[in-house]
Subunit: 222 residues, 2 copies
DNA sequence: TAAGTTATGTTAATAATTTAACAAAGAGAT
DNA sequence: ATCTCTTTGTTAAATTATTAACATAACTTA
């Protein structure tokens, strides 16, 4: 049929990696099928929600068996676009950029790390995971020639918007943004904010809540 | 009053770092007040939603002026628990662990990096951002003695659950999880999954959607 | 001091998401 | 072949989240 104009709800997309992670692990077991009820126990999501999420993309289950683990994993891979190659560059070869250079997650998702760029002369020429760090002034040409789809942005906040504009002008399709500053990109460019420190915010926010509740309880007891 | 038993909805918590980021940047300008309407333009969230989110925590605005940028920033910091110190350790001193050792985000959020652990003898003894890498067998004692609240987990997937159990047994309050595997923790321990590669999933999922739509359109034209 | 603006905080309406319920399909047992 | 059991995919209900509307408060100008 082709559910063309309808966008996949972001909230569903955000759960796909959860299913993916568990199905990947399940493949190491001898289990062949898994029910939505079992998946529910593993993921903490309700079985109803899992069935609904999956049914959004098609009919993958088998009545009274459940889902074929291998097939569902393959289907999810296709849904998440892992079946064709995406070309990636890293912009900023500091500590975080280096960690991304050695990240193990690219291959299974069919991302191909094509280049690493920095403006610091001390880093240029360095090899990271067999890829040489190039000067950032070659970046525009490289994006066009090598058909780069996605740029991981790990530059200091002050430089971020300027380099972003440049990436956009060169035709980048998506930015995997590790900076801490608000970036502006045109609507046709994807911006995926991967703010590391957001996790710290959530953790202390909830810890703080629990901490305050303890205090409240102590007060009430008096 | 004390809104005790009610938990802060996760969806609101997830927007707090967005407000925080923009207010931080706004402090560099000479602006003193900002309206929900202006914040809406910056964040892309509706002004109504912004007012509602903020009103969840109290009455911070001033009629016909808007919000005092500095005060709101301070309030958000308190809400997210940045007003008291959280002690942090990094478990796993590989590339990602090293990047986290040099992460600049701790100080402003009042996280204190107290220790780094690894089992690899080649890494033990190494100094990362002036902190020595210790052997992982000292970790239990360290957590208790140094009152560690949060552990950043950057070990290989295979070792993750085992070390998690150990952290939990030692009394850790939260785990900032960078592994790719599903972890099990008891309900009283916070688990914040900071899966780096989730961003790649979302990016290619949406790119894939657009790619398929282009194909669909080409087919229809025939 | 009154009229006109601005922008909040909150209530009401709408939309999105999740859960619950169940009919239908299929498998296994008798 | 029939009965029972399992588990899906889907429809309906309940819940949660977002947007729109507006009364109220406070500032500005005349």
């Amino acid at each position: 049929m082709g559910k063309n104009p309808e966008e996949i709800p972001g909230i569903i997309i955000s759960r796909l990696p959860v299913y993916y992670k568990h199905l990947k692990q399940l493949q190491e077991s001898s289990k062949e099928y898994i029910s939505s009820e079992e998946l529910s126990k593993l993921t903490g999501l309700s079985s109803s929600l899992i069935r609904k999420d999956l049914s959004y993309f098609g009919t993958f289950g088998r009545k009274s068996y459940g889902y074929d683990i291998y097939c569902l994993f393959q289907q999810l891979s296709i849904i998440m676009g892992f079946n064709y190659q995406k070309n990636l560059i890293i912009v900023g070869a500091g500590y975080l950029g280096q960690a991304l250079a050695y990240n193990k997650g690219y291959e299974e998702r069919n991302y191909k790390l094509k280049g690493i760029f920095d403006k610091n002369p001390k880093l240029i020429g360095l090899y990271l995971n067999d890829i040489i760090v190039k000067p950032v002034n070659k970046i525009d040409e490289f994006i066009k020639k090598e058909n780069i789809d996605i740029a991981a942005l790990t530059v200091p906040g002050g430089a971020a918007q300027k380099i972003t504009d440049r990436l956009v002008a060169a035709g980048i399709k998506g930015i995997w943004d590790f900076t801490e500053v608000p970036l502006k990109v045109p609507k046709n460019v994807l911006l995926e904010e991967q703010n590391i420190n957001e996790g710290l915010c959530k953790l202390s926010c909830v810890l703080n809540k629990e901490f305050n509740e303890e205090i409240d309880q102590n007060c009430e007891q008096k």
